[in-house]
Structure formats: C-alpha cells, structure tokens
Subunit: 354 residues, 2 copies
C-alpha cells in the first residue's frame, strides 16, 4: 500500500500541474481560461494562485483521494491512464477546502508550517482556496476522456450535489463549536461527518464510477464505501486525540486535550453525555463550554470519557462502519488486486496510530 | 426604471426564498440536499446558513442582476415567469461573493451595518458565503423550465468558465493592492474589471440567453453588453471616489481619499502615472504606497490626478464603454420596452451620483 502511494504521488502531481502549472504564463491563461478581453497579468496571477497553491501541495499530503480514484477505475476493469486528469478533481477540491478551513478555524499551522493565510495574507489565501473550487471542474469541459454530454452533465450534477452537502457539514460543525449549549445526537454527529468529510470521499468514488460508465448500483456502493470510510476516519481521529492526550504511559501527550479545549462534540463526548450520571455529565458540559481549561480539568473530562467506556464505544462504532464499508466494496464486486487494496484502506483509517 | 426595480424586488426575493428559505426545516433539507444518511440538525443549519444570508439580503441590495436577467428574457420575446428561479442564480452568487470579499478585505461595514463576519464570526460568514457559490446551481438540477440535457450542460460549463475568471480578477486586484511596486497597464486594469465584476454580469446575460435557447451570436452580444456595463460601472465607481473625496464645493467629502489610502490602482491612477512628469508620477507612487497618508497627501494625489486630466480621461473611457455596450445591445436586437430599459442602464452606471 505504502509503495503504491509513493509510486503514484508524482504521477498525480504531474496531472495537477496540467490544471495549475507551477509557472503561470500568457499561454496557459489563454488556453485554460479563454482569451483575455483586454490583457492578462500573468506575473500577478503567479503570486495570486500558483505560488500559494504549490507551496501547500509541496509541503506534503498523500494524494490519497486521487489514488483511491485511480484504484477504483482499475477495479472497474479499466485502464487508469485516460482518466488521470479526473483524479486531480477531488485532490484539488480538497486542497481548496483545507485553505478555506484554516481561515475559518483561525488555524496557526498546516503540514508543519504556518497556515497559508499567515504566509500570503487572508485575502490571497482565501481567493486561491476558492479558486480551487472551480479550477479542477474545467477538466470536465476539457473532456480528455471524450465523455458524452449525458456523462458530463452527470458529473456536474454529482459535484454540485456533493459540494452543497460539504457546506452543510462544515456549517453544522462550526455552529456546534460556537454554541456550547446545543445537544447533539449520535446520528447528527455521523451526518455531520458524512457531509463534511464524507462528501469529498463520495466525489472520489462517484467520479470514478461515472467517468467509466458504471451502473447506478455500483456507483452507490462505492459512494457509500467512501462515505463510511470517511466517517470511520473522523471517529478514528477523535479517538486518537484523546489517546494522544494521555500518551501511552498515561503521561501528557504532545497535543494535550485539543478537542476538549475546543469543546468539540465528538462521538466520544456525545456518548459520555448520554451515559454518565447527571452530575458527571453536567461537569463534562461545564469543562467543554469553558473559555479556558486547566490540565486538571482536561484529565477530569478524559476520566469521564473513560468511566463511560466512550473510547471503546467509539472504536466499536468506527470498526463497524469500516466493516460496513467493506461490505459495500464487496457489493461493488471490483477486480483484484485493487479490491483488496481498497479494503485495506478501511482497516488503516481506524487502526492507524497517528 | 426605478419603478421596475421596486416592483420586481419582492418577486425576486420570493424566488430566492425557494432556494434558501428564511426558516430551514427537515423537509427543506431532505428535498433540497437529498435525504440525510443519518440525521440533519435543522436548527443548527438555520444559524449556519439562513440567518446570516437573510440578514444581509434584508439589509438591501437592488437585485438588479436578477432584474436584468428577467428583462433580457422578456427582451428575447419570452414570458419571464417560467424562468424566475434562474434569476436567483446570479443574485445568490453575488451575495456569496460580497460576504467572501468582506472577509478578504477585512471590511468593517456592509450596507450600513457591520460586515457579516463581524456579526456571525469569520467561520460562519465564510462558510455561508461559500455555500452560496453552490446552492443556486441546484436550480439547474431541479430544472423548473424543463430544459434538455444539452442546455443544462451548457449552463454548467458557462457558469464554471465565468466563476473561474471571477477568481482571476479578484486575485489580480488583491495582489495589485498588496504589492505597491507593480506597474499596471490600462488594458490589464480593464481585464481585471472584466473578470472581477464583468463575469457576474456575463453570467446574468448568458444565463438568460442559454435558458431561452438563443443563438451563439445573440448570447455573445448580450454577454459583452453586460461585461462592458460592469467595467464602465467600476470606472464610474473609481471616479465617484475621487469626486466624493473633494465634495461639490471642494470640501472634504464623507469618505475622504479611500481609494488613494488603499493604494488602489484605478484607471485614473494608471493614466496619471503614465502622463504626469516623472517627478510627479514618483510622488503619486510614494503617496499610494505609503502605509498611512495625511489629508494633505491625499489632496496632493488628487491634484496630480486633476492636473493630468485623469478624471476626464476615465469618464470618457467609461462613456465609450457604455456606448459600446449599447451597440452590443443593438446587435442583440431585443424587443421593446426591454431594449430601451436595458440601454438606460448603461447611462445610469456612468452618470449616477452615488
């Protein structure tokens, strides 16, 4: 798996460079955006778009959205080569969302360096991030795989539907953060994850199914696979935050109590609030809603999560979502070795240690 | 004209409410975004989307993008009624861009009240603004005018092309602001306007042409009309900023020297830099690039603009763009009274006094 990722990253990056070249010139602008009515300023657009975007891409990222897309295409029994340009769509969209998310969250760092808006300013970063919501869709117009009109229309409608739901998820998450008082149900939490991160996964899967002309059933199966995997990944993230907070030997980990400090309504917290005694649930609520927390309060909150078996509950739920994802994959009946590789992903998302 | 605007505003707002209702409930979410995989949280989405968006819409705005769309549809000899839902597309997109622009510019106020990100927080405002980039496109999927697949595909491709160029224009403008040293040509300035504000105008016009099945020639003519009008409007804005700075009797106006303080590269400034003596051009550059300006410096800069006849030059250019817009409109050969009303718009954008 690791080898596949390492092998395909440069191939994916080369395809991304076709959409957003490292160096923006007149010729690219004319070809990609159409002839200028008056005159473009390529030097300025270099600084507005290419510089910030490639700085972030070069900092890392596994390009796994593009790679899962390519694995699915091959799993459908097709050669991946003609579909390579489409693999950039979810990858570039994802890059756009993290730039915008960092502005929304006021994030300090991203991939080990200051978040892009700290380097280029909020205005440049935000405009570049938003530009990435539309630039990759140009691939559909360019039509490198010679898709018929009906297929291209289906791609646009799918993308609009999923990108709409992405914003539902993000908006829900933001408002939960900001409004400490709101009570969130387990099902609402899963929906938020399914929208916020799951929809980008669904784009990966549905894109692969639509460009290769799969049946609706197969498209839905791989879409659900990707959605379930994304939700399981999110829960895995929440568990890791608590486990890292304690460290392996019960000591304070490097990012001690992040989610609790932020008052994040994770599945662990939701389960603890539902199952703890009224008194302890109130105490957990108070700690989560406080502006600031002491280390003792963080430990107290984690203790409540442990006493209510909320870590185990959440891990069980993540494992069952991952198992459900594998069932969907089995329904899609993909070719080997891709089917096994894609199934392996569902184990990784829950069992990873960072 | 004023009556037409006042009469149609409530009709447009009613259509917008179909896309983003004032009250978000389960039923709307299920119908508009599709059934939840798990469970939506309508109360939270009310606060994430509907509250901020309607606060801004209720503050004002003339909805002229929607109204120009409807006038064009009627000018093409069609009943506007069946196309009303499509009129919301440019209006909602526009609302999204102003929310995002205000975050990018760090704007304090919008339509007489604090900018949305000051009221709801950057995270909520930004996510709502970005959601508005995708929500109205759903109208195309809903297909209220029963358009065939080819027409719907054409709509998506047009929208993606224009929204891409919108981000080129915005990125160019931002980087010019941030980098005082850059020299901008007249043609590059017009291109920036054509992209940044012209593309939304083009969306209005092309949308009207595509949904009613006009010829490519007619579509291009009305698109150019809208683009030219937008560029003329922008130049008119730049002139007004300088004129308001001086006030009618040469006194300090209410927003004294805004554009000069921001170091904005307007057509007036570009013309002055090109035609002033080297010494005076250098002085203008210094004032524009300074972090802070005294009132005396602002007056000095305005004096250079006046000495080089840059206000007159820019007004002439705006008038000739407006005349060119009317020529394009004539080429499109629209029905009356809409043809005359749309021609009147081109006079208003240059001759308005606020």
């Amino acid at each position: 798996m690791r080898e596949t990722l390492a092998e395909w990253q440069p191939v994916v990056d080369e395809a991304i460079e076709e959409v957003i070249p490292r160096r923006i010139d007149e010729e690219y602008l004319t070809e990609f955006f159409g002839p200028a009515t008056y005159a473009y300023d390529p030097e300025t657009l270099q600084r507005a778009l290419s510089d910030p975007v490639w700085e972030l891409l070069d900092r890392g990222g596994k390009r796994w959205r593009a790679i899962v897309f390519l694995l699915l295409v091959r799993g459908f029994g097709e050669d991946h080569e003609p579909y390579l340009p489409y693999a950039t769509i979810p990858e570039i969209l994802h890059t756009g969302t993290i730039i915008v998310d960092d502005v929304e969250d006021g994030a300090a760092m991203r991939r080990g360096d200051p978040a892009l808006h700290h380097v280029y300013g909020t205005d440049v970063a935000l405009n570049a991030g938003n530009a990435l919501y539309f630039m990759p869709l140009k691939v559909i117009t360019q039509n490198p795989a010679d898709l018929d009109n009906g297929t291209r229309l289906a791609l646009y409608e799918m993308l609009m539907a999923e990108l709409n739901r992405t914003h539902l998820g993000q908006g829900t998450d933001i408002c939960w953060h900001n409004d400490g008082g709101v009570e969130v149900s387990r099902e609402q939490y899963l929906e938020m994850c399914a929208c916020k991160t799951g929809c980008l996964g669904r784009i990966v899967a549905r894109l692969a199914a639509i460009v290769t002309g799969q049946s609706d059933e197969r498209e839905q199966a791989v879409a659900r696979y990707a959605e379930l995997m994304s939700v399981a990944f999110q829960i895995g993230d929440d568990i890791l935050d608590i486990e890292n907070s304690l460290g392996e030997a019960g000591e304070f980990g490097k990012e001690f109590g992040n989610d609790i400090r932020e008052g994040k309504k994770t599945l662990l917290v939701i389960h603890a609030l539902e199952t703890a005694s009224e008194e302890r649930a109130d105490r957990l609520r108070t700690i989560l809603n406080a502006e600031e927390n002491t280390d003792e309060e963080i430990l107290e909150a984690i203790d409540i999560l442990q006493q209510t078996d909320s870590i185990e509950f959440s891990r069980e739920r993540a494992l069952s979502l991952a198992a459900e994802a594998r069932d969907q994959l089995a329904d899609a009946d993909l070719a080997e070795p891709e089917a096994s590789m894609l199934a392996e992903f569902t184990r990784f998302v829950v069992e990873r240690e960072q």
